[in-house]
Symmetry: C2
Subunit: 766 residues, 2 copies
């Protein structure tokens, strides 16, 4: 497909060339560009001279025609970078943008690329192709923007590479408010959506089509043949919120989230590939809400998520749901899909929450089960048989199962006749592509099933040549995951395989220099000594600080007023086998107060931290992927690890993973750990805490909440094998029963109680 589009693009260019009057107009600065745009006419080409275009706001307007589009392009693809505070707006007909590279900056407006200039100058039949948007993210994660915002009709985003958005807001957004923008038939094709980091809160979609107010609106956006690689922003990789959208032949590779039919109806999800590789239970598949969706010919490989992140999650709805909540699933067709080494493909009535009536209003209770839903001709193969193909969170009484086959027994609570255990043949075609087949003429032909005319690879299905599952034969099959099939003709996002250096250090000045000059991945090795440090050490790369002699640890004694280590965006700090001492007035680790545009990380191991005002302090907008403290000693600090500043109560939080294991905490006066997430939100993993094998003594004495270990709102908590001795608090911790949290094997002496509350009352966020 990509090749076709390229050929087509070249033909279009040649077409434009044929017109003798067309001489590409090369411009070298924004003024020349503006002049060129002012005078542009159908068939013209405007060429941005190679170089850095910094702080430019380009309004590309004009009236091309189908035969004579107007093209704005780079002199050499990849040699024109748009940097600084810059953006691009497009308004008019048949306008094309080629070959630009957005990096090292962010947009001053709400969008990097916007398919309108204003409400009366809207783009139609226009496209952005062969471009890159790379980490063009807002300095402040809380500031919202979109990188590509569609308006108008018949616009195209094709063959681009787009990655690294860490701030608030979907990467690509399709706007539908207004008759000019509905029935848009936009094409989002052949793009490579590279990694989007976890956001630690909602609004981290890679793509959103409409919003909760457009669930009634026909969109007809086509999302085809794109690669979504590790798009981890939030629970929805794609959030379809309008009608009649098509998702076809896309590959979702190790992306923590799902293709979600959130609002709107009558979507087609055909021939997509979901590769989990068993890497994480957060990697999902397809989540179904609303009416009339057709989910056919999809291939699911090694997925192990459940509930919202199940391979195929069919949700319960809210009766008479408010417009922005959950409609019942009706008239869905789930047919001819193949599940390979995906233990429990089918999850029905996901989101059923009748048990939450105590803490949720009636308008939040998802009690309407899927109905008039057909599950037919699917094939389920597990190399190691797994006997629970169906997970149900409510009765399954509205789903018709017909001619589905698995190679495992079915010991699920739901055992439909239409799911049979049989011997399956399996052909292993490539690493991720296994094709299970079952030789039968028994294929279910439901209402309108004759409209399913091809398989995953486009091979024709008809009466005489049809079979179960997504693949009727391996003709035309491609590698399931091959980056080179997607994105631009010129950009490669391969990382340099630089070898990490070890830098040996003997003085505090050398330490400061080393931290400043090291390359990401380097190791700073401290000779055994006491280092007096009277300033903050900023960390903005991945470095490890360790003692050369693990039996004679270096001591870093901080006399600085500010924090000892200042955690900056992308700073990943590992400290191993080091003793850190403070002056009781500063933090050991502290983030910037603002502009924490990307995540940071902190890993302490075999390390002692003492005499600080606090161990870790963070700012509101900051986010760490992981905080890990293990085999360490924390003592004589006024407060401990504080991940509690994201208090907007809209589902955001300050850290995704927190591992606190095998440590001793002594005399930490308050907030030994304070890890907070507020608001009733289901868009994220919701935080993860492992608090295990720790000994906490004589701590919490000034804690104003009277709770030693605070985890309010955090979804995933393991709390086991700790000892709590002589801590003068009311509660050691309050765990959340509904999320399966329970204390295990903890020793409690002269300390408070470990309490479990079943249901937690949270603020509604919408």
């Amino acid at each position: 497909m990509k090749k076709l589009v390229l050929i087509f693009s070249i033909l279009m260019l040649c077409n434009a060339c044929k017109d003798a009057s067309v001489e590409p107009k090369v411009v070298s600065n924004i003024n020349e560009l503006n002049d060129a745009i002012q005078n542009v006419k159908a068939g013209d080409q405007i060429v941005l001279a190679n170089g850095v275009w910094k702080d430019v706001e380009i309004n590309f307007s004009g009236q091309g025609t189908e035969a004579k589009p107007i093209i704005l392009r780079a002199e050499t693809p990849g040699k024109v970078t748009i940097e600084g505070v810059s953006n691009l707006k497009i308004g008019g007909d048949y306008l094309e943008v080629h070959d630009l590279h957005f990096k090292n900056g962010y947009t001053p407006s709400r969008n990097v690329i916007q398919f309108k200039i204003n409400d009366t100058l809207i783009a139609n039949h226009s496209k952005v192709t062969n471009c890159v948007i790379e980490e063009f993210t807002q300095p402040d994660r809380d500031v919202s923007d979109h990188w590509v915002e569609f308006w108008g009709r018949h616009n195209e985003l094709s063959n681009n590479y787009i990655a690294g958005k860490s701030n608030f807001g979907p990467t690509v957004m399709v706007m539908l408010k207004g008759n000019q923008h509905i029935k848009n038939y936009h094409q989002i094709v052949n793009n490579h959506f590279g990694p989007r980091p976890r956001k630690g809160g909602p609004h981290g979609e890679t793509m959103q089509i409409g919003d909760s107010g457009t669930s009634m609106t026909p969109s007809h956006t086509n999302v085809e043949n794109n690669l979504f690689e590790r798009c981890n922003g939030e629970v929805e990789i794609i959030s379809s919120k309008s009608n009649n959208n098509t998702f076809k032949n896309n590959v979702f590779f190790e992306s923590e989230g799902s293709l979600v039919l959130r609002h709107g109806n009558y979507a087609t999800i055909d021939g997509n590939i979901f590769i989990g590789n068993d890497n994480s239970e957060f990697i999902g598949g397809i989540r179904v809400i609303n009416t009339g969706h057709w989910i056919t010919n999809n291939y699911f490989y090694k997925l192990k998520g459940s509930t919202f992140r199940a391979p195929l999650a069919v949700m319960n709805g809210i009766p008479k749901s408010p417009l922005n909540r959950y409609n019942q699933v009706t008239d869905a067709v789930i047919a001819y899909n193949t599940f390979v080494d995906t233990k429990t493909p089918f999850h029905f009535s996901v989101g059923s929450n009748v048990s939450q009536s105590e803490v949720l209003p009636k308008s939040e209770i998802r009690s309407a089960r899927p109905t008039r839903t057909v599950v037919a001709n699917n094939i389920l193969y597990n190399q190691t048989p797994f006997e629970y193909p169906i997970k149900n969170y409510d009765k399954v009484d509205g789903v018709l199962f017909k001619n589905n086959y698995t190679n495992s027994a079915n010991k699920s609570e739901v055992q439909p006749e239409g799911l049979q255990t049989v011997e399956l043949d399996v052909q292993e075609v490539s690493k991720s592509l296994k094709v299970p087949t079952y030789d039968t003429k028994q294929i279910y032909s439901g209402f309108d099933f004759e409209t399913i005319t091809t398989d995953l690879f486009g091979n024709k299905r008809d009466k005489d040549n049809n079979s179960l599952g997504a693949i009727i034969n391996t003709n035309n099959h491609n590698d399931l995951y091959n980056q080179s099939n997607y994105g631009t003709s010129w950009f490669k996002n391969q990382k340099n395989d630089s070898v990490s250096q070890t830098i040996e250090i003997s003085t505090s000045q050398e330490l400061a220099n080393a931290i400043s000059n090291a390359n990401s991945g380097d190791i700073i090795s401290l000779n055994a000594a006491e280092y007096q440090i009277n300033r903050s050490l900023p960390v903005d790369k991945n470095i490890t600080i360790t003692s050369k002699d693990k039996n004679n640890k270096a001591q870093l004694v901080f006399t600085s007023e500010g924090t000892a280590f200042q955690m900056k965006p992308k700073g990943i700090l590992h400290i191993e086998d080091v003793v850190l001492k403070g002056n009781n007035n500063q933090s050991a680790f502290k983030t910037l107060d603002k502009n924490m545009k990307s995540a940071y990380g902190l890993w302490l191991k075999n390390t002692e931290v003492s005499n600080f005002k606090s161990v870790l302090e963070v700012s509101k907008g900051s986010f760490s992927d992981t905080i890990s403290v293990t085999n360490s000693i924390i003592k004589n600090c006024k407060s401990g690890i504080q991940l509690n500043k994201e208090t907007n109560d809209k589902g955001d939080y300050n850290s995704e993973f927190v591992y606190i294991t095998n440590n001793t905490f002594t005399n930490v006066d308050q907030d030994v750990l304070n890890y907070y997430r507020g608001g009733y939100d289901e868009s994220t993993i919701g935080g993860n805490l492992v608090f295990q094998n720790n000994t906490i003594t004589k701590s919490g004495q000034t804690d104003k909440d009277n709770i030693l270990i605070k985890t309010r709102g955090i979804v995933n908590v393991i709390f086991a094998n700790n000892s709590f001795i002589n801590n003068p608090v009311k509660y050691i911790s309050i765990l959340w029963g509904e999320k399966g949290q329970k204390p295990e094997n903890n020793e409690v002496k002269n300390s408070g109680e470990i309490k479990v509350v079943q249901n937690l009352k949270l603020k509604l966020v919408y």
Copy 2:
């Protein structure tokens, strides 16, 4: 159009005839019919022999083809009547039903005609044409049914006459639940929908397309060229509850209600005619809810309704509305409409009820104003200028007015630039058709306006030939209201103009015989005397009982155990200048206990009613159009006029109009008047009471509610110029301030208080 269809039908019949093998199969009873159906094949005709077919349930199944439909028809159109407990179900392809007459009965199932036999045998490409359904209504008004229920796709209801449904449930219903029934492209064309009486509660629509659960569903039903004549059932004549429906060239003649876009979006309402003739403020036009509707080329004549029944009501929505309530109006286009002698055409933010927050939950508050709505190229003409063309119930900040013209000044609160006062030319073409024009080249061309290619009469609009309003010229114009353009080829619903007889009476036996034998409209004239009557007198027609000598009134003295007069369906009883006396143990007037299938009426004038247990007692399912008591004396009764048995609290009530004027009530112990309507419903007129110029004395002494005149839940109440003397009650009445009710000029002596409550808490009914 009708002629065309007839010619087409004849051609189809001839087509069938051409096949030599086709011999119409005449059947004479249900067994023969069932046999014939069992053996039917494409191209066959089954002919029902002339006569009465009583208590028949016909399942008409078969597989016709487009070229060879299967036809079920009457031997002679109009000579085959389906009577008794009967119905018709159709299942299969290309099936046609012609020429049948349903009357004198009702369906034993949920439908009279149903386009499916069961869930697997559904009709497609089938039609019912040239048939009549006449008062085929359930004996019990509370029993719900539909007369025509659509399922499947591509079915047709054409050239039928359908009238007289008085029970619960829309007359025509289009079902959309299931993929087999969506995108149905049903044709409802050329029908005559005759009078549907007021229902006195919700669920009295003449047509409903989908329900609140299908607001997301594409229906594509076409309702074209039908006449809706006095379809008064409830506030919605047509309730469109799905997407993409078309309403074109229909005539709404003096129908109390509106064409309502209740749920669903993207309707086309083009070239319809709304004739009110100033007859009633309950005759509405179009009511708009939801998104993307186009309302063009419509002609509004002499309409004077407001709020829900405005000529053009654009509603406020509920933010994030529940599925079954009110979405915001967005992206509506209201263009090229003509309003003639329609004083205030535009009503914006209808239903705004922020002031009701005290008694309504948040999920009921309609505060979302219309937005992105265009009102353009409309023309407003009032022969007598009227200066308030716009009524607004909230701010009007989301509506763009462009190039609208009126011949009156605009003193409305909203005075957009896009509505200008100009001199208009007017051509009076026929009684109801006046064509105002304004000669201007200033015609607004909004987004997609080029898709409006014709006017009301199908005359072509283009760049060179266009003008404001619904009519660009009167070429091709037809009579706006001509019954003969609609319905069957054979049925005439003209009433006989029988002359009313006066029957003179001297004995009670003669009276009973006269009532029994009179024709509707007759007058029974009583010679002056005392008539002892020891039985109930049933009334099932329109009769008047009066005294021959108004100065020497006849006295009817009832010794019967049961009620004096028994009001039966269709009984309209006028009593004038008569004295009625009871034995203190019976009612003067009482309805049947059940099976009050149609409305009754009671009119008392210059009449005295005394010594009854009660004046009027009704049963739960009963409904009177009008109860009128005027210039009369009511005395010494244990209770009065009781219209309080419809207590389902779902919006139903026992009488539409109650006029109590110029009477004296003395010693009526309780319920002098008890007129009740329960439940928060907006589907009906809501009851009407005029209580004026009455004198009430020494009454209410045993009233358990301690209220003399009870009007709870009744919407329209005039309460003026009455005298209340020596009534031992706490309240004379409790009026509803929010509905504009207030006591005026009443005299109160030694009686209770007349209270006004602003907001009334009512049970939510959905």
